[in-house]
């Protein structure tokens, strides 16, 4: 019985694994260690955003401020660093900006009943606008070596970016599965009545979830800029939809109440791996779009089939 249950869980991982092996056998250089480490490094940006985004989607919200925060938060830190402020306080300022804007989103949703779509979109646009205007639309770069090392350095051969992603994965997983906070977040998305019975404030949870998402976006943005040694005012645009798509590929339900952080991170790796594979194959850019679109639909379709079969099988047991 236990083995069957484990086998069903494993089936969910089988899909990406099969995809991975297929790509590895067909595409030269895909399985090079340096390339795989690169893929994780490139995906870490979407991955960290996906950790925060998972909670937001679980409580039936959405966070569209990623694009703006991914540019604005590092812009703050960057300008401070270039002005002579130490790396650590500069990073702290950038993180504070992200948390602050996230909390603002939470405030709008919790107390003013503004749809998450609108408030996060607006906050994102404001952040984008600020990122553009603080330096006249120009990018900034040439940061202190310590900062650049975070994005490009390695520890025991593993890029720091990958390690940071793993930390966030662990943090998110821990909060969700092992803390009361995590339970309450899941409840807010699925069984709000439970919260009311226990006297837990939904508003406080909303504050946390959006604030945390803003925090994740800030970290991602800082990491991205550390990797490029640059803050470009529009650097976040490409990541907005990918982060949400990563969550959904990972099985997070847009209707709320359900989602697994490790799977969302897996979704991010799938997206990153897919783009890498297409680049390595040298597929024409026009055709890449067709590929990515089709594969995303295919993966979610197959994932849904596996998930529904699992649910059917476990119904009546446990």
């Amino acid at each position: 019985m236990v083995i069957a249950h484990l086998a069903r869980r494993a089936a969910l991982f089988a899909l990406p694994l099969v995809l991975f092996l297929v790509m590895g056998s067909l595409i030269p250089h895909f399985l090079d260690v340096s390339n795989l480490l690169n893929v994780v490094r490139q995906s870490s940006i979407i991955g960290i955003c996906a950790v925060g985004m998972t909670y937001v989607i679980i409580i039936k919200g959405i966070d569209l401020s990623l694009a703006g925060l991914l540019a604005f938060c590092p812009m703050i830190s960057g300008m401070l660093m270039l002005a002579g402020v130490g790396t650590v306080p500069a990073i702290a300022a950038g993180l504070a900006a992200g948390i602050g804007m996230g909390l603002f989103n939470g405030l709008m949703v919790a107390t003013l009943a503004v749809p998450a779509f609108i408030t996060t979109l607006v906050v994102g646009q404001i952040a984008s606008g600020l990122a553009l205007i603080v330096n006249g639309g120009r990018s900034i770069g040439a940061f202190p070596a310590g900062f650049v090392f975070i994005g490009n350095g390695t520890l025991l051969g593993i890029p720091l970016s990958d390690l940071i992603l793993i930390c966030f994965l662990a943090l998110g997983f821990f909060i969700q599965r092992k803390t009361a906070l995590g339970n309450h977040i899941n409840a807010l998305g699925g069984h709000e009545s439970v919260l009311r019975q226990e006297g837990i404030s939904a508003s406080r949870l909303q504050f946390f979830v959006f604030g945390f998402s803003g925090f994740c976006a800030a970290v991602s943005g800082l990491l991205l800029s550390a990797q490029m040694d640059t803050v470009h005012p529009t650097q976040g645009d490409a990541y907005q939809l990918d982060a949400i798509a990563a969550c959904i590929i990972g099985g997070v339900d847009l209707a709320g109440g359900r989602g697994s952080i490790p799977m969302a991170v897996m979704g991010a790796l799938i997206i990153g791996g897919l783009r890498n594979a297409l680049d390595l194959l040298g597929v024409h850019p026009f055709i890449q779009n067709i590929f990515i679109g089709s594969v995303i639909i295919l993966i979610v379709f197959l994932g849904g089939v596996v998930r529904r079969r699992n649910e059917l099988a476990t119904r009546g047991t446990l």
Binding site: K60, A113, I118, Q125, G129, G137, L241, I249, Q288, I296
Partner: protein, 325 residues
């Protein structure tokens, strides 16, 4: 208002609140229009108002389709990309292949309908969430548009083709009247016909709707097909308006603009709530804001930020008088 019901602070009591509550989108639109007239020079000038109508017509057409999709609890992220594909197909058929105008229109609308149909089938029968189904199909469509166009645009289109949308009627281009006709047609369909009730029921609870005999599968597929067709129509009209067919017309930015307009117009992302009238007012509201920002000469970097802030304030004010879902 029931005692103990959750209410945002500062709600306006009484009958006025109830009226505003039922017509939040109109309230927002009216306040914006009044503020703009009072505070922005040249806003209320006849030719400026004509411009706002011209700029609103095409997003309105797309927004009607999106509203219906949102009412079922779904979303159509391929909308902006269908606009682009429709645009370049229209351009190639009309100018490069010199097909007669009615055939061009039919072909473009058919393409939109087929794509929408595919979206609907994937969402309904393959059980892929609409977000992913339409995001994926959007990428595919964009790739197709690029391949078909080889990245280039087609401009200076045949006059007969342009006449569809550029014929002057009572001082407005015919495109505005086409949009008005589409709006009226779907307004009647949604607010008077059974289809509208079924749509709302489906949006609130697909299971309950199915149990009460609503043909949920058919409706789910149908709304995407309609959205696709209207997106194609919007692409056609856009192409005529700027006299250029581009594969990247519309795009993701346009999709978001349309969804935002629908939400400002009172549509709920969770389904069940929405109206054609509300969405049209939402589009007009956003275009009024954009117009004022341009008239006031706000810095181009802050353009979106200012627009966003005003939308946020508008929604908050709307909420203060009525609790939104």
């Amino acid at each position: 208002m029931a005692k103990g019901a959750k209410r945002p602070f500062g709600a306006v009591p009484g009958r006025m609140a109830a009226w505003i509550g039922r017509h939040v989108s109109f309230f927002i639109f009216a306040v914006l229009a009044v503020l703009a007239t009072l505070c922005v020079r040249n806003f209320a000038a006849r030719d400026n108002l004509v411009i706002i109508l011209k700029q609103s017509a095409i997003p309105a057409v797309a927004c009607i389709g999106m509203t219906m999709v949102l009412m079922t609890g779904g979303i159509d992220l391929s909308l902006g990309y269908i606009v682009g594909l429709a645009s370049i197909i229209a351009g190639i058929l009309a100018k490069t292949l010199l097909l007669p105008v009615p055939e061009v229109v039919l072909a473009v609308l058919l393409v939109g309908a087929l794509i929408g149909l595919a979206n609907g089938l994937i969402t309904q029968y393959l059980r892929v969430p609409a977000f992913i189904a339409t995001l994926g199909s959007g990428y595919v469509i964009y790739g197709l548009a690029q391949i078909v166009s080889q990245g280039s645009i087609v401009n200076r289109l045949p006059k007969g083709f342009l006449a569809i949308g550029r014929t002057d009627v009572l001082g407005l281009p015919s495109a505005v009247f086409i949009a008005a006709g589409v709006a009226l047609g779907f307004h009647i369909l949604i607010s008077r016909a059974i289809f509208g009730r079924q749509l709302r029921a489906f949006g609130f609870s697909p299971k309950a709707a199915a149990l009460s005999g609503v043909p949920t599968a058919r409706i789910n597929v149908l709304v995407y097909a309609i959205s696709g067709t209207l997106a194609a129509l919007a692409g056609l009209l856009f192409t005529i308006r700027v006299n250029a067919a581009q594969p990247n017309m519309g795009g993701g930015v346009f999709t978001f603009e349309v969804v935002t307009a629908a939400i400002v117009g009172g549509t709920s992302l969770f389904g069940g709530i929405g109206s054609v009238a509300g969405s049209i007012l939402g589009v007009l509201s956003i275009k009024i804001i954009e117009n004022c920002i341009n008239l006031l000469g706000v810095s181009y970097h802050l353009y979106l930020a200012v627009q966003g802030a005003i939308i946020l304030v508008a929604i908050i004010v709307g909420n203060l008088t009525h609790h939104r879902a």
